[in-house]
């Protein structure tokens, strides 16, 4: 069951990622990325991180990617054209990337036993959810980083407004 879920959504992830790579229109790439993220959300859930699964959907798919499509629509971005540089990237990049994947895969499979196995539903979860656990750590031990992050967000908002505003 767990393996089936993993295979279904893992394949969905990889397919989405590859579609992002091969689609030439940015909006198709964006939608492929949404698919990847939704699939990842399910995988998070199988790993016992249901809060992150929800956050992944709400924040990544529902906010960040909507922003991306919004910008694509706003700028009316068209299909991209080929250039010589991109060909070089194809010839050098794809074999290199494939090599790295092969290397990492080999390592992970080599260490498979040491890494252990995942149980469906996770081993962290309490009776209700792991949200209480996350919030307890977040608002006690990690309160300062949390507040700093909120400042960061505020700065980012202001920066975005300043950058995107049309010069008067």
């Amino acid at each position: 069951m767990a393996l089936a879920l993993f295979i279904i959504f893992g394949v969905l992830c990889v397919a989405g990622a590859l579609n992002l790579l091969f689609q030439r229109h940015p909006i198709n790439s964006a939608l492929s990325l949404v698919v990847v993220m939704m699939a990842l959300a399910v995988i998070y859930w199988t790993l016992g991180a249901e809060f992150l699964a929800a956050a992944q959907v709400i924040v990544y798919s529902g906010a960040i990617m909507v922003l991306f499509t919004f910008v694509i629509m706003l700028l009316n971005a068209g299909e991209e054209e080929r250039t010589t540089g991109s060909k070089a990237a194809y010839f050098v990049g794809i074999p290199g990337v494939a090599g790295i994947i092969a290397l990492l895969t080999y390592i992970f499979l080599h260490e498979k036993a040491a890494l252990g196995y995942a149980r469906l539903g996770g081993s962290l979860d309490t009776a209700t959810s792991n949200i209480s656990e996350i919030s307890r750590v977040l608002f006690t031990d990690l309160l300062l980083p949390f507040e700093v992050t909120s400042i960061l967000i505020l700065v980012a908002i202001l920066g975005a407004v300043v950058l995107a505003r049309r010069e008067q």
């Binding site: 990237a89 290199g96 990492l104 390592i107």
Partner: protein, 677 residues
């Protein structure tokens, strides 16, 4: 008084400094002066309380350690204050005279720009001076030492728009650095030999080893002496003090006569344990003191600027104190320090009052006949002049005579003692002469100033009108200039108090030979006990009281001779002296201050300037520094011409390099990880 409150004594003036320094610009002048006075008066009261506590409890010392300051293995310094009887006297002098001079300043500076700045600096000075006096270790003393130097620099250059004032400040600072260098080296030596900078530890260690004579103690003592000579304006580092007269007169009175310049004397007395072990260092102290005394006195004879006469006089009197220290008569030196603080502060303040009366005129050739015009100033100044001249029963006589007597009776080296005594005696005569010269030239004879044009030449310094109520001079000016006038009472009151102190201040130390009991020396006995009792107390018994009486009579006689000579040349037959000697080589030598400044300029300043220009600027700066810059720039450019080919400006190529780097790291990590397995 609980020693835990000792810190209040220095900190309160610092609070005054902070308040006036930050808010003073916005405050009204009475508020500024009020704050400064309040934060000086409270420490004075605290000192009085402290004094009464220590006398009533009979405690000889009192100390407080607040917290550790520097702690490294094998060496430890605390923030610590300590009080003994020597400190008490210094505290009383600093806070008492300081408070009087603060009052005086409120009147004297009333019409100056930067009123708040002046009082902020004065309070800052008080803070550092009190830290210096209260310090229980060399390092904290050094903090105060440097701090008073800073305050002195700021106040000398108070009229910083005047080139001469700014230069005088710089000169004071630089010359003092030489002395500080000696002090620092002395501290290093002390750390090296004692592993501590605390007075208690160091002196206990010295007392515990009677075998230590001379050697490194001489080195330490001589280096300390360098520091003391710089701060107390002794030969050969005295040159800054006469120039320091560019500062406002209350500053000259407080810093450059009564308190700061005596820090060197205080330091020698404080470290007398070390000096006692080194006859050589003591001799050097005595010789420097005597030489400075007579050297400055001769220059003082021919100066025309009223404040410069007093400045050389100060140098000369400080020489006396060093002489006292040098013959191990520390209590006599401190006694003279105290009486000198009274009468020299008085003289400076009175001179300030004269200058104030003449709207900024400082040249004695343009004074004269002021006796009737400013009577209070006249009478108070008279007390100061008689006191410094050493005529009984005023303060200066007792303290100076004590030093001369002790010099004469100096047992460790009788020949040197007699010689120095002769020099001191001659100096006493000269002192009497130049002080009465000043007195006659200022107050007696005909009026040599042009009342109508008073104040024009010195408009910068004293330009503002004075309150009409204090204007005793007749308003002869048709343009609204003010004539000679007595100072306001806020200035005269401190003068009167100081005059009283100058008259009676010496009575606490009347020697037994004159029927007194020398309270002062007994008071300081706990501090200088080792020296006083072991050597000189016995000595005092051996030299008969009759001898002491004879010596006192001789010194009084010399002082009177000085007076009469001055009377002849400056009251009866003015101008004759100038006509006789005005063109002689000797006069020119003295009038030009022995060309010391010029000699320093030629031997030290100019070589330094030229050396800097050729070696530092020409070679180090241009060849080494710039050259290395050019070379490194050329190398950078060479490499850059190769490596910038990688910087295509194309974002994706950067990303590609990034990916390559990450891949290399990954492979390296993998390789090492697999290797471990």
């Amino acid at each position: 008084m609980n020693p835990n409150y000792l810190w209040l004594i220095p900190v309160l003036p610092f609070a005054g400094f902070l308040i006036n320094g930050t808010l003073g610009r916005k405050l009204a002048r009475p508020a500024v002066a009020g704050i400064a006075l309040l934060f000086t008066a409270i420490p004075a009261l605290l000192v009085a309380w402290l004094w009464s506590t220590m006398l009533s409890t009979g405690a000889l010392t009192m100390s407080v350690t607040s917290r550790s300051w520097i702690t490294v293995p094998g060496f430890h310094v605390n923030f610590a204050f300590a009080v003994d009887h020597l400190t008490l006297i210094m505290l009383a002098v600093v806070t008492g005279v300081g408070f009087l001079i603060h009052i005086y300043s409120a009147g004297y500076m009333a019409h100056e720009e930067g009123y708040w700045r002046f009082f902020a600096y004065l309070n800052l000075f008080m803070f550092f001076m009190l830290v210096l006096v209260l310090a229980a270790n060399f390092l904290l003393l050094f903090v105060g030492w440097e701090g008073v130097g800073l305050a002195s620099y700021l106040l000398i250059g108070f009229y910083f728009t005047k080139d001469s004032a700014a230069n005088a400040g710089k000169k004071a600072f630089v010359v003092n650095r030489i002395g500080d260098f000696g002090f620092l080296l002395a501290m290093f030596l002390i750390i090296a030999h004692f592993g501590s900078l605390s007075f208690g530890d160091v002196f206990a260690a010295v007392n515990a080893h009677p075998a230590w004579q001379g050697g490194f103690l001489t080195a330490i003592a001589l280096l300390l002496l360098v520091g003391a000579a710089g701060k107390s304006a002794q030969l050969p580092l005295y040159v800054w003090l006469p120039d320091a007269m560019e500062g406002p007169t209350p500053v000259s009175a407080l810093i450059h006569a009564a308190t700061m310049v005596t820090a060197g004397v205080y330091m020698v007395c404080r470290t007398h344990v070390i000096f006692d072990r080194s006859p050589l260092a003591l001799s050097v102290v005595a010789i420097i003191g005597a030489a400075t005394a007579i050297f400055a006195a001769t220059i003082g004879m021919v100066q025309h600027d009223i404040k410069r006469v007093l400045a050389y006089s100060t140098v000369s009197q400080l020489g006396y104190m060093f002489l006292g220290c040098g013959v191990a008569a520390y209590s006599a030196a401190v006694f003279h320090l105290m009486t000198h603080a009274f009468f020299k502060a008085l003289l400076f303040l009175a001179a300030g009052s004269v200058i104030h009366a003449l709207s900024g005129e400082q040249d004695m050739r343009l004074m004269g006949g002021l006796k009737k015009r400013i009577p209070v100033t006249y009478w108070t100044m008279t007390a100061g002049v008689i006191a410094i001249a050493g005529i009984p029963p005023l303060a200066g006589f007792f303290s100076k005579d004590e030093i001369l007597y002790r010099t004469f009776a100096f047992e460790a080296n009788p020949m040197l003692g007699k010689l120095l005594w002769a020099v001191g005696l001659l100096t006493a005569g000269l002192t009497s002469f130049y002080m009465f010269r000043l007195w006659y030239k200022t107050f007696a004879g005909e009026e040599r100033f042009d009342e109508a044009h008073l104040g024009q030449a010195h408009a910068v310094v004293h330009a503002d009108e004075h309150p009409a109520g204090h204007d005793e001079g007749q308003d002869t000016s048709h343009q609204g200039h003010h004539g000679v006038h007595e100072s306001p009472w806020i200035m005269l009151a401190p003068l009167c108090i100081l005059a009283l102190l100058s008259i009676i201040g010496g009575w606490i130390g009347i020697p037994q030979a004159l029927g007194g009991s020398n309270h002062f020396e007994h008071f300081l006995d706990p501090v200088f006990a080792a020296t006083t009792h072991a050597e000189n107390a016995v000595n005092a018994d051996q030299v008969s009281h009759s001898m002491e009486l004879v010596l006192a009579a001789v010194s009084v006689l010399v002082a009177l001779i000085g007076w009469f000579v001055a009377r002849i040349f400056y009251l009866k037959k003015p101008g004759t002296l100038g006509a006789r000697f005005g063109n002689s080589a000797l006069y020119k030598l003295v009038a030009n201050k022995y060309w010391v400044d010029e000699a320093y300029d030629a031997t030290i300043v100019q070589p330094t300037v030229i050396g800097s220009r050729i070696l530092l600027w020409g070679f180090v700066e241009n060849v080494l520094v710039n050259g290395s810059g050019f070379v490194s720039a050329a190398i950078t450019r060479l490499f850059a011409s190769v490596t910038r080919k990688m910087q295509s400006g194309n974002i994706r190529s950067y990303a590609g390099w990034l990916a390559v780097g990450a891949a290399i790291i990954l492979i390296a990590m993998t390789a090492s990880a697999l290797h471990i397995h």
